[in-house]
C-alpha cells in the first residue's frame, strides 16, 4: 500500500514536470497541444480510496491551471474524468471490471484502447468547451477537441509502452 502511494506521488510530480516543460511547448500546427498528464488519473489503481482519488485529481488539475493561467478549467475536466472513470471502466471492460481483475497499464488491446479513447475524449470535450466557453467558436472547439484527443491518445500509448508502470 505504501509502495503504491509513493509510486503515484512520483507519477503526479513527474507528469506535471513533463507536461509543463515539454508537452505545453509542442504547439503542433500552431495550437494543438497534447495533455498526457491525465495518465495519472487513467493509471490510478482501481481499488484505491475514491475520495483520495478525487482530491488528488482536483489537485492535479488546479496545478495545471496555475501553470497555464486557465483558472479552474483543467481542474473541472480532471475532476469529472476522475468521477466518471468507474463508469467508463465498466462499459469498456465489462465483466472483468466487476471481478476486479482489470490491469490498465499492460499491453494495448481493444478494451484498453477504447478505455483510453473514451476517457481522453471526455476530458478534451470538457476542457475545450469550458476554456473557450462561447457558441461563436463552436467550430474551433470541435477542431481542437478532435485534434487534441488524437495527439494525446498517441502520446499516452507511447508513454505506457515506454514506462510500463506497476511491473
Amino acid at each position: 500500500m505504501n509502495n503504491v502511494f509513493i509510486l503515484n506521488l512520483f507519477r503526479f510530480i513527474f507528469l506535471i514536470i513533463l507536461q509543463v516543460f515539454i508537452f505545453n511547448n509542442i504547439n503542433f500546427g500552431g495550437y494543438i497541444n497534447p495533455y498526457p498528464y491525465i495518465l495519472f488519473i487513467l493509471l490510478y489503481p482501481i481499488d484505491a480510496n475514491k475520495n483520495l482519488f478525487l482530491l488528488a485529481s482536483f489537485l492535479l488539475g488546479i496545478t495545471m491551471d496555475m501553470f497555464m493561467n486557465t483558472a479552474g478549467v483543467h481542474a473541472t475536466a480532471c475532476l469529472v474524468l476522475a468521477y466518471f472513470r468507474p463508469t467508463i471502466l465498466k462499459y469498456t471492460f465489462g465483466l472483468s471490471y466487476e471481478y476486479q481483475t482489470v490491469k490498465i497499464a499492460e499491453k494495448i488491446n481493444t478494451e484498453r484502447f477504447m478505455y483510453l479513447l473514451v476517457s481522453i475524449f471526455l476530458f478534451s470535450t470538457i476542457l475545450f468547451s469550458l476554456e473557450i466557453f462561447s457558441f461563436t467558436f463552436i467550430l474551433t472547439i470541435l477542431a481542437r477537441i478532435i485534434s487534441s484527443t488524437i495527439l494525446t491518445l498517441i502520446i499516452c500509448i507511447i508513454i505506457i509502452y515506454l514506462i510500463k508502470p506497476n511491473k
Binding site: L55, F58, I62, D65, M66, T70, A71, G72, A75, L79
Partner: protein, 279 residues
C-alpha cells in the same frame, strides 16, 4: 442526527465530487467575466520560479534574434537623438526632457517574458517583474516593435500580462496621422492578425497604413506602433469599418519587454470619477 451522518458517510464520494466541482466551476466562470481578479494564475512563487528556469534555458536559443532587435531599436533612438533640430534640447536635464516631449509623464521598467501562450482564445504572458519593482495591474507592456498587452495581476516578483491575442482584450487604437480611432480586438483565429473594430466610415483608409495606439487611454502613450492595415470590411450591423491589422510584433517570439507606468493615471482616474459622480 445518526441518519444524517450515515447519509454523509454513504454518499461521501458523490458529495466530495459536487463540492469540488462547484469550486472549479466558480473559478472557471469567474475567469470568463471581464476584468475579475483571478485566484489561480501563474504569477506566484512556484509557477513563476519554474517558468523562470525554463526561460533561462530557452533564452540562449533566442540571443541572436533579440540582439538584432535591440540594435535596430538603438539605431532608431540614436537617429532621433542626433537629428533633433532643437540642439539646446540635448543639454536639458533628462527629467525635463520627458516633460518637453509629452504632457504626461511615463515611467518605463524593463522586464523579461518568461512564459508566453498564443494557442488559446484567452492568452496570457508571465513576466519576471512584480509588485516589488512597482509593477501594478493595468500598466501597458510594449517592446521595440509594438504593443504586447496589459498587466493583469502581480505577485511579489512576477506579473501576468493579458496579451493583445486575448478575446477579452480591448485597446484604443487609431490610424496614424489622423484622429479616427477604434477598438483593437482579436478574433482568436490567427496569431499574426488583430482586428480594429468600430472605425467610422468617414475615415480615410488605405491598405498598408500604420495603426498606432490612440491617446484616449491612460494605459499606453500615444503613437506606439501596432501593425499595418491588411484588409478592410464594412460591418453590416453597425455600419462601421472593421480593419484586419497585420501585427509588427511576432507574438510567438517575445523576449525583452518594457512596462509603461503612466504617473498621472491616478490623477486622471480621480478627476474622471469626480466628474461622473457630479452628473
Amino acid at each position: 442526527m445518526q441518519q444524517i451522518l450515515n447519509f454523509i458517510l454513504k454518499n461521501s464520494n458523490k458529495l466530495l465530487f459536487l463540492l469540488l466541482l462547484c469550486i472549479s466551476l466558480i473559478l472557471t466562470i469567474q475567469s470568463h467575466s471581464y476584468h475579475r481578479s483571478k485566484v489561480v494564475n501563474s504569477a506566484n512563487f512556484m509557477t513563476g520560479g519554474a517558468y523562470q528556469q525554463i526561460s533561462n534555458i530557452r533564452d540562449y536559443f533566442n540571443l541572436k534574434n533579440q540582439n538584432e532587435q535591440l540594435i535596430l531599436e538603438n539605431t532608431y533612438l540614436k537617429n532621433s537623438l542626433y537629428n533633433t533640430t532643437n540642439l539646446s534640447l540635448k543639454n536639458i536635464e533628462f527629467e525635463q526632457l520627458k516633460i518637453t516631449y509629452t504632457d504626461t509623464l511615463f515611467n518605463v521598467t524593463k522586464a523579461n517574458v518568461i512564459n508566453n501562450s498564443y494557442n488559446k482564445p484567452n492568452n496570457y504572458l508571465t513576466i519576471n517583474k512584480g509588485s516589488k519593482q512597482k509593477i501594478e495591474p493595468d500598466m501597458g507592456v510594449v517592446n521595440s516593435l509594438g504593443i504586447v498587452g496589459i498587466v493583469e495581476k502581480t505577485s511579489n516578483n512576477y506579473a501576468t500580462v493579458q496579451s493583445i491575442l486575448n478575446v477579452k482584450s480591448e485597446i484604443n487604437a487609431k490610424i496614424k496621422n489622423s484622429n479616427h480611432f477604434g477598438s483593437l480586438t482579436w478574433n482568436a483565429k490567427n496569431v499574426g492578425y488583430v482586428q480594429l473594430i468600430d472605425v467610422p466610415r468617414l475615415a480615410q483608409i488605405t491598405k498598408g497604413d500604420t495603426i498606432v495606439t490612440g491617446g484616449r487611454s491612460t494605459i499606453f502613450p500615444e503613437n506606439i506602433p501596432i501593425g499595418r492595415i491588411e484588409k478592410v470590411y464594412l460591418d453590416t450591423d453597425t455600419n462601421n469599418f472593421t480593419i484586419s491589422v497585420r501585427l509588427f510584433n511576432d507574438m510567438t517570439n517575445l523576449g525583452n519587454v518594457y512596462v509603461i507606468d503612466n504617473l498621472n493615471k491616478a490623477e486622471i482616474k480621480a478627476l474622471e470619477k469626480e466628474t461622473y459622480k457630479d452628473e
